[in-house]
Symmetry: C2
Subunit: 190 residues, 2 copies
DNA sequence: GCAATGTGTGATTGGTCACTCACTACCGGG
DNA sequence: CCCGGTAGTGAGTGACCAATCACACATTGC
């Protein structure tokens, strides 16, 4: 299998799997779990649909893996933001919140996959597992990096969820009272 | 059309439409917009699939109407809770938060429809419209009844969104640190 | 050189689903 | 009594989609 020349980290199949996953992210992000056809995903990855099913035996497994990718992107963002904040002597929790806001604008796919995973979790056990892992890792990281109490953490996560929903319905593009109040960066008091 | 005997509030077609809507709520709640077949909805309502499409020309329109129903159920709950709180001299905002928690346990469908609507809003303009209306009405009502500032309102809605997500992934049934912290009733400090 | 193993595909298949059409049954008014 | 409109349906239709299968091409160890 692995050739004698020791340093071979990925077999080509694993490489393909990784590529497929990356290509699947935007497709699932745009159309959701049910509405995204495996054909479109395979095409985006530049492989045949048949081979997609060899790399991931079911669509649910593929989607669960994509959920994991989105989770990892968030984790990486938070880790980095916290490190930078600590170096600058700023509040890590606030920095991570800021970083999440930026991430939502920069990498819309992460948000959308997150959202789609939440609903798909209701019906597909594999996806529910992936989502729970996602929250567990996120909570652990944010708690450790920030040192905040559970009450602050709850409020922090709650704010993140509100950001998700507001982004999903495009509230940031609206000029109505409720939309400005709920998307606002918790600054203005009235 | 309407017969001479003045007081005829609903034509039978409107009646059927209302019945269909009520029947559609649990089906959409359980399976989501894409995965819920119109056939199953029609069966639940006791009508033929063909007639369903006469009452609502497209599936998206039907789902948008269901979103509206969920919205109305929430509005009614909040109105009632606020009235009771005001009568008892309690804080209306807190009472409405409590009422939302109760509603999520009593009427799971409302939560699930809410969640499914959020994601479907990304792709279906009709559903996006319905969701925006939902948030507008909700925000207006809660703001009026509570008299709270926009910052408190934002936090209140954020907490509601977190409740939704935690319920969706069944976090309340887990015995892990993160799950207890994020589903907790903002009481315990550590 | 050749078997074995792994990478990759085209064609299909069985099933489902939104939506349509042609049609029947009823009901109130003239 | 019949006529127009409304309630209601059975039987499709075309499109799409997850998953399968049989088969080809490359690489490698022997």
């Amino acid at each position: 299998m692995t050739p004698a020349t020791a340093t071979r980290t990925l077999s080509t199949a694993e490489q393909r799997r990784a590529e497929l996953l990356e290509a699947a992210v935007p497709v699932f992000a745009e159309r959701g779990y049910h509405a995204a056809p495996t054909m479109a995903i395979a095409k985006a990855a530049g492989i045949s649909q048949a081979y997609l099913f060899r790399l991931f035996p079911t669509k649910a497994e593929l989607f669960a893996a994509v959920t994991g990718i989105a989770s990892e992107r968030m984790l990486a963002t938070f880790r980095e933001a916290a490190a930078r904040a600590r170096a600058a002597g700023a509040d890590p929790l606030e920095a991570m919140g800021q970083a999440y806001g930026d991430l939502l604008e920069r990498d819309r796919d992460v948000l959308l996959v997150q959202l789609h995973s939440q609903v798909a979790a209701g019906a597909e056990p594999l996806i529910r597992e992936a989502m729970r892992r996602c929250f567990r890792d996120l909570y652990e990281l944010v708690a450790r990096e920030s040192g905040a109490g559970s009450q602050d953490l709850q409020a922090w996560f709650a704010h993140g969820m509100l950001c998700n929903v507001m982004a999903a319905i495009g509230a940031d593009a609206l000029d109505e009272t409720w939309a400005r109040a709920l998307t606002g960066e918790e600054g203005e008091t009235e």
